[in-house]
């Protein structure tokens, strides 16, 4: 039942944005809507994960623990982004960067974007899943090109073209899956819940080819290297709260799609095939992103490449496949989503105060924006995997799993590259946060709603870093079952 509230609220909010979007109070209404969604998804999470039950509605919506988990991640980041948007959009209007009617457009697309993302984990039909993922691209392209500058329109164009081509490959893969299903002599269907139980009788050859297309297709959307080229452009040009949504959850919805097909592949072809491909793409992403992080000059692009790195870690986690690694990868999805959102909010505040992206020209953030500077300092340590924060836990789980599985090379590669990235981040952020304030700038106040968003995310980062409330032996096995059945 909760799922209908989760899907319904964004529809009403987008209608509301159409009518009241120009009014100042709409930001608050928007935010409270997402608070309600967050509560619903928590209830949904509790109902499906702890009991292992699945829910179906009209043969159209299918929810199990995996979907509930992804819906929870989306709703957490969407709530934080809605909270942060209140202050951010108002400030943009005050500074004259956008007009009030543009704010209406922003809220309209914000809600449509969230709606399309909520649809992805809720759908049963693999064809509709494809349509939902494509919809997320089409809608968010407007939010990437929102500022109408040359750079942002170029980024939006690259984003829409590269992702559309990528996703066409995913459709090709989906069609081949349905082909494999149709020649097995069963009734025609594309429903995941109907394909999975009979996965072992499907034609292995076709499934193997199909999964490559799926991985390339949805991998483009997930930002796996070498199909990642749209990602730094789009993330760096989008409105700050949207960057957080793109990096925090849009990439994860594509990972979700890969996992759904992966489960079919594991049941039919065996785990090794899935594992090798995931680890391969994950390792390439890690290597490429660490190089770009070292030499990066642009603040938001730095964070975008860091997203590629974390997607790589997640892919490796799923590829390793032991219960510990899968739990680590799922946890990492959540941790990366909240931490990266915090970083993008901080970067948004810096960019709007300094009016530039170039890290070499930004100095003394702690003096100019004391609160944001502090949060970014903590976030920087959290993102690079420093102990009291949550990313440390999920990364160490994946690394331990790599060594206990005997994948020594992967474990060593992870440790080495994480150390390199840690160094690069501390170097870049150290220079930016400290140092002397440029003469033309002075310390400025920050909107209350923005601060609240930071505190909400920081709370989640610290809480999951200190204790793992949901993690015991039973839940570990649930995670294991998700992939291996």
């Amino acid at each position: 039942m909760q799922i209908f509230i989760i899907l319904g609220i964004p529809i009403f909010l987008s209608l509301g944005a159409f009518i009241f979007g120009k009014k100042r109070f709409f930001g608050i209404i928007n935010c409270s809507g997402y608070l309600a969604i967050l509560c619903c998804s928590l209830i949904l999470f509790k109902e499906t994960v702890f009991t292992g039950k699945t829910k179906e509605f009209f043969g159209f919506i299918y929810l199990d623990a995996l979907s509930a988990f992804f819906i929870l991640v989306i709703s957490v980041v969407a709530f934080a982004a809605a909270l942060y948007s209140i202050g951010y959009i108002r400030k943009d209007i005050q500074r004259g960067v956008i007009t009030e009617s543009k704010a209406r457009v922003y809220y309209l697309f914000f809600n449509l974007f969230c709606l399309s993302m909520f649809f992805v984990p809720a759908l049963d039909n693999l064809g509709m899943l494809w349509v939902a993922v494509e919809m997320t691209t089409l809608i968010s392209a407007f939010l990437v090109g929102f500022y109408n500058s040359k750079e942002s329109v170029e980024a939006a164009w690259k984003y829409i073209i590269i992702c559309s081509v990528g996703i066409i490959f995913a459709l090709l893969g989906t069609i081949l899956f349905s082909y494999a299903f149709s020649i097995s002599g069963l009734t025609k269907s594309l429903n995941w819940s109907e394909i999975t139980p009979v996965a072992h009788i499907l034609d292995k050859n076709i499934l193997k080819v199909a999964f490559i297309f799926i991985l390339v297709g949805y991998g483009t959307k997930a930002g796996l290297a070498p199909m990642h080229t749209w990602l730094p452009d789009a993330h760096s040009q989008a409105v700050a709260p949207i960057s957080a949504l793109l990096s925090g959850v849009l990439l994860k919805t594509a990972i979700y799609a890969i996992l759904r097909f992966g489960i079919i592949i594991i049941k039919s072809v065996g785990f090794a095939y899935f594992a090798h491909l995931m680890i391969l793409f994950g390792a390439i992403s890690l290597v490429i992103s660490s190089g770009f992080i070292l030499v990066q000059k642009d603040l938001k692009r730095l964070l975008a490449y860091s997203s590629i790195e974390h997607i790589g870690i997640i892919a490796i986690g799923f590829g390793l496949g032991s219960p510990l690694a899968i739990a680590g990868a799922l946890l990492h999805i959540f941790n990366h989503a909240v931490t990266k959102s915090l970083m993008f909010f901080g970067a948004g505040n810096i960019v709007s105060a300094y009016k530039k992206h170039n890290m070499h020209a930004i100095r003394g953030v702690i003096k100019a924006l004391p609160f944001t500077g502090m949060m970014l300092l903590l976030g920087c340590f959290a993102l690079t995997g420093f102990p009291p924060f949550s990313i440390f836990i999920s990364e160490i789980m994946i690394i331990i799993a790599a060594f206990t599985n005997g994948a020594y090379f992967i474990g060593a590669l992870l440790l080495l590259l994480l150390a390199v990235i840690f160094g690069a981040f501390i170097y870049h952020f150290g220079r930016m946060l400290f140092g002397n304030l440029p003469k033309s700038m002075s310390a400025a106040g920050e909107p209350f709603s923005g601060k609240l968003a930071f505190l909400f995310l920081l709370f989640l980062i610290c809480a999951l870093g200190i204790s793992l409330p949901f993690m015991n032996k039973d839940t570990l096995w649930i995670f294991q079952q998700l992939l291996h059945g």
Binding site: V153, I168, Q237
Partner: protein, 211 residues
């Protein structure tokens, strides 16, 4: 009959690859879509299913009438040159197209184990169309040609879906149509924006974002 339509699809794709100017490309795209429409109409006539009639009707309205018209309109409104900005000249493109056809034949023959001649030819043609779409997107430098390339790939997938698995489920097919139409509208919108901001639609010159 199937063979003739397949051949017509193939021929129209070749026409697209050697087209030098935008109107020619759009015209060939229209031919290709029309062939697809004939193919689905034939299947619909033989199977007598309402779903298939609706799908072929939608195909005709969207891909033969509306989308090419929209592309022409964008072309006129953006006031840019009609050249496609070829990276590879028509002769070489034609040679590459022959190579692509051969490769997709081999791939199709590899994929279908119980050898059925017509199935393999359909698969080979669809893979060729998809490759041709990618080729158009990579080696033609205007934004409009890239949109057309994407549509060509989509056409290939449509043919594949209706050939190998008897089409996607009905409502998925409708949703995909809707999706394709939306994406053309939105991409067209961005082409307007690019032509306004940059005074050209040559995507090769979009290089402000690097690294």
């Amino acid at each position: 009959m199937q063979g003739i339509i397949l051949f017509a699809v193939l021929a129209s794709t070749y026409l697209m690859l050697i087209a030098k100017r935008m109107p020619a490309l759009i015209r060939s795209f229209r031919y290709q879509s029309f062939c697809l429409f004939l193919a689905t109409l034939l299947i619909a006539l033989s199977e007598r299913q309402l779903d298939l009639y609706i799908i072929s009707g939608l195909l005709f309205i969207l891909k033969v009438l509306l989308i090419p018209q929209l592309l022409y309109r964008i072309l006129r409104r953006t006031n840019t040159k009609e050249d496609l900005g070829l990276f590879i000249n028509p002769q070489l493109s034609l040679l590459l197209a022959l190579v692509f056809s051969y490769l997709s034949w081999i791939f199709a023959a590899h994929l279908v184990t119980p050898v059925k001649e017509i199935q393999i030819s359909i698969l080979a043609v669809t893979f060729f169309i998809i490759l041709a779409g990618i080729f158009l997107m990579i080696f033609r430098m205007t934004a409009l040609a890239q949109i057309t390339g994407l549509l060509v790939m989509e056409n290939g997938l449509f043919l594949l879906a209706s050939a190998v698995s008897g089409g996607m489920p009905f409502f998925v097919e409708i949703a995909i149509f809707f999706d394709v139409f939306m994406s053309v509208l939105i991409m067209g919108f961005f082409v307007y924006k690019i032509s306004k901001l940059f005074t050209h639609i040559d995507v090769n010159k979009l290089s402000r974002l690097r690294g």
